[in-house]
Symmetry: D2
Subunit: 134 residues, 4 copies
Amino acid sequence: MSAITDMLRTSPKDLSGIDQAALATCIDACFECTTICTSCADACLAEDMVADLTTCIRTNLDCADICAATGRVLTRYSGGDSDVVRAAVEACLAACTACAAECSQHAQMHEHCKICADACRRCEEACTALLATL
Amino acid sequence: MSAITDMLRTSPKDLSGIDQAALATCIDACFECTTICTSCADACLAEDMVADLTTCIRTNLDCADICAATGRVLTRYSGGDSDVVRAAVEACLAACTACAAECSQHAQMHEHCKICADACRRCEEACTALLATL
Amino acid sequence: MSAITDMLRTSPKDLSGIDQAALATCIDACFECTTICTSCADACLAEDMVADLTTCIRTNLDCADICAATGRVLTRYSGGDSDVVRAAVEACLAACTACAAECSQHAQMHEHCKICADACRRCEEACTALLATL
Amino acid sequence: MSAITDMLRTSPKDLSGIDQAALATCIDACFECTTICTSCADACLAEDMVADLTTCIRTNLDCADICAATGRVLTRYSGGDSDVVRAAVEACLAACTACAAECSQHAQMHEHCKICADACRRCEEACTALLATL
């Protein structure tokens, strides 16, 4: 059980109308993806062939920023009909899909891109699963 | 002419296919809205009636985080068909619309909420204008 | 072994002069503390006695922002004599110390504050341990 | 008069013991520096000689993240003896000093680095001025 599951459990917010497992999984996936994408951008910067990886670096940085914002927004989610939460998760899904596709192209050559593509796919799945419950 | 206009002009990126004025206006609006929303959340926290403003504080914090991420993503935009940019701007639009509506409810009582609602509306308009050009 | 350990291992950066275990532990602690502090601020906002928790909320938000920035800076660390890394980790240490102290005061009444104080103390220790190796 | 000056003026916080002009100037400088550094990192990524600019990109990204966190922390400042505010501003000062020095080295060749070095120096000065009042 992750720390965020504990935090949601001990919050006085009424989360009874929300799929809390899907929410906690998505929050964890967003913050993990932020960390990995920030790190992948930096590893790409350190490659000799950095000039061939600038699209990957931009995609990583975009994904890191959008996942960080989405993780924070989801942490504050208290249910109801929230256009903001839905739009944020959809942006996160788009960012993770794009970053997984871009990093996959370099995954055979750069193991950090493989790890990053995997993290993006986990976050993509968590966003898709959460959107289905909103 | 804002600093970001200068930065876009001096970047070697080919931005010829992009409405650079709409892009610069939206980037400026996103970062301004981040600052104002962060400040409005803090001013709400300082009000005696903070217990009545918790929805406003959450909406402010969400808007600040989404605007900050969107401002960064737009700063890295280099044109083309970007699902990520479109989804990020749509999330920003949703956040600004929600925050403008929430802050408007407290605008007569709290001047900081009035200033914040105005900043959110400017960002909303800038997002709408930019989306029309993508 | 955490994901960030894998990322540091697969980065082409020369990290031979750095205590990589201390670095990875501190990066993980920073990102965990960001998540928990963001969540604790939100749980405090949901308490009936929110008016008594505004200092705690501010301290949580400050700690979340500083830990997030420090986690990113550390992820990009490639050794050498970096005044920036040292100053960032010192700011993170100050933020975690302040937030652990503040949350501890509410730990008996609010379990989320107890969990948050614990996360802040882990990050405080990780910062102290890392500073000793720089 | 900037928007943040208006926000500080309309906040119910007691800021009588604080040099509000120095505070507002520093908040504005932090957020401006975040924007410019994010943009400079992206412009460097677009240069043909990106392989020679990776240190500049890392320094820009670090400065952007630290300035963003410091701007947020300062926005929440309500006076008193705050180790956290002091440490955050000192980290910001270190980041701006490092980024101004790094960007200055490329200022003759890349105008975006010149603009960025200028923004970093303005933020450096604002941090120094604010620290003198704390």
